[in-house]
Amino acid sequence: MSGARTDALIDIRDVQHAYRTADGPLPVLAGLDLWVREGGFTAVVGPSGCGKSTLTRLVAGLMKPDAGEVRLHGEPVRSPRATVGMAFQNPVLLEWRTILQNVLLPLEIVPTRLSTAQRDARARSLLSLVGLEGFEHKRPSELSGGMRQRASLCRALVHQPEVLILDEPFGALDAFTREDLWQLMHELKAREPFTAVLITHDLRESLFLADQVVVLSGRPARTQYVLDVPSDGPRELDELYTPESAAMLATLRDQIRIARQGEGTGGGDRERVVTGTDTASSTTSSDS
């Protein structure tokens, strides 16, 4: 992990949260702890239903945790802020708008000093960056799933957010389209100054895109394991099959296995599980 925690752009400290259901409180987060440096790319993996999406809503300020704190730039997040961009598994484009109008949507909400022409130019340049040049005036229903997801990424980035929250954005795509979009994320990362949190089920995806992979335990989720991906980690698809990558993937797979075994037995267990193959590149949770 490069830099100190005090420099963290996103700092989530010991967050606990339970949903109120008819059968009583359902704890989803029990000691979530992670931080992301400015410009970093953190992937969060874990068993299904372990509270990963709750995490994105916390960072976006859409909800407040029962206990613990979520800070952006050291400031506690209490409400939504315009410096966040979101993309979900469902691209949720507005069917009554053209692709260009969809991408422009955040600029209609967020206070901006850009003129109409400048906004237009900004949206068009993003669209051409993701390969959607010529589709500006199409409706979402006229585009393929991969193209819609590209447009959704443009919308998430158009207002130059500090934080980009990606909640399984590639989960519903076919394997080839997904790999295309992984490459695209790297291109976007090189061009746009965002800090990203990616929720995913795909360990290869997490390794390919992130510089830090956080493994959550089963529900209620704690931070179980943090893997730092070295800066010379896989950035081309071929590099996912090197011995180093294979070792990191094995570590992550082990951690997921542990997380799934612990499911349902964890309860309020706050003890940190640190097991599995310790490769040179992996560290345990950062605040130890």
Partner: protein, 254 residues
């Protein structure tokens, strides 16, 4: 609109009228049993001024009742779409209200507001047609995927902005679907009042006078006039739908 879109419906109407004529002719029915299309032009000719004035009375009262239904229906739909509690509270009331046959409500309304014929007629047209609008708007709003809301909420948009930019346009296709149903219902409401509690106004009253005078072609002519008005109003709604919710129509796959 191309020639095919005009010619096909016109041809269908002509075929329908031809079959009707044939049915009456083949059975040798006298016109007090069933009037045939050829009986209608004379009936229209004889009473055309009445058709114009009474058709207008029926039309404007139906439209006003419908507008009222849109306003109240959308308001109720919004309330039920945004608040679970109010939805749970209002649903049984609305369903019960809707289940009451409006023919039974007509005499009550007629007694309640004696002499207020226009008001009474509009009221019944409204009462019979607001329900589908309220239900469709509430369903449209309550089934809005949370991600849509989150996209705007995460940017700090107000509830009103979310409603205006997302919830409202997204509900438009459902709204227009319900409005098409409501149009015909409103006509039923207007005529119910005009026939059950006649007060000398509207096509319903004309129908009633045809009945008392045993002028059977007139009765059938009124039915045709009502059908015509219904078709006109329906296509007005279709045109509005094209303008405001045309995006929901999928382009034909080649």
């Amino acid at each position: 609109m191309n020639a095919r879109q005009v010619l096909v419906p016109v041809a269908a109407v002509l075929v329908f009228l031809g079959l009707w004529e044939l049915l009456v002719w083949a059975n040798g029915w006298p016109n007090y049993k069933m009037a045939s299309p050829s009986d209608l032009p004379p009936a229209f000719e004889k009473h055309w001024q009445l058709f114009l004035t009474m058709g207008w009375q029926t039309l404007w009262r139906t439209v006003v009742g419908l507008l009222l239904a849109v306003v109240v229906g959308v308001a109720l739909g919004m309330v039920m779409g945004f608040s679970r509690t109010l939805r749970d509270a209002l649903y049984p009331l609305l369903v019960g209200f809707n289940a009451v046959p409006k023919a039974t409500v007509v005499p009550i309304v007629a007694l309640l507001f004696v002499g207020e014929h226009d008001f009474n007629t509009i009221l019944i047209a409204f009462m019979i047609s607001f329900f589908p609008i309220a239900v469709s708007v509430s369903i449209g709003l309550s089934t809005l995927e949370p991600e849509y809301r989150d996209i705007l909420r995460s940017l700090g948009a107000s509830k009103f902005t979310i409603f205006r930019k997302i919830a409202l346009p997204k509900t438009l296709p459902e709204f227009f679907g319900a409005l098409k149903v409501a149009v015909t219902l409103a006509f039923i409401g207007t005529n119910l009042m005009e026939i059950v509690s006649p007060h000398g106004r509207g096509l319903g009253a004309l129908f009633d006078s045809g009945r008392t005078n045993a002028d059977y072609p007139l009765m059938f002519a009124v039915l045709i006039a009502l059908a015509f008005l219904g078709i006109v109003l329906y296509y007005v709604v279709v045109a509005l739908e094209r303008v405001f919710a045309g995006w929901a129509e999928r382009a034909e796959v080649p």
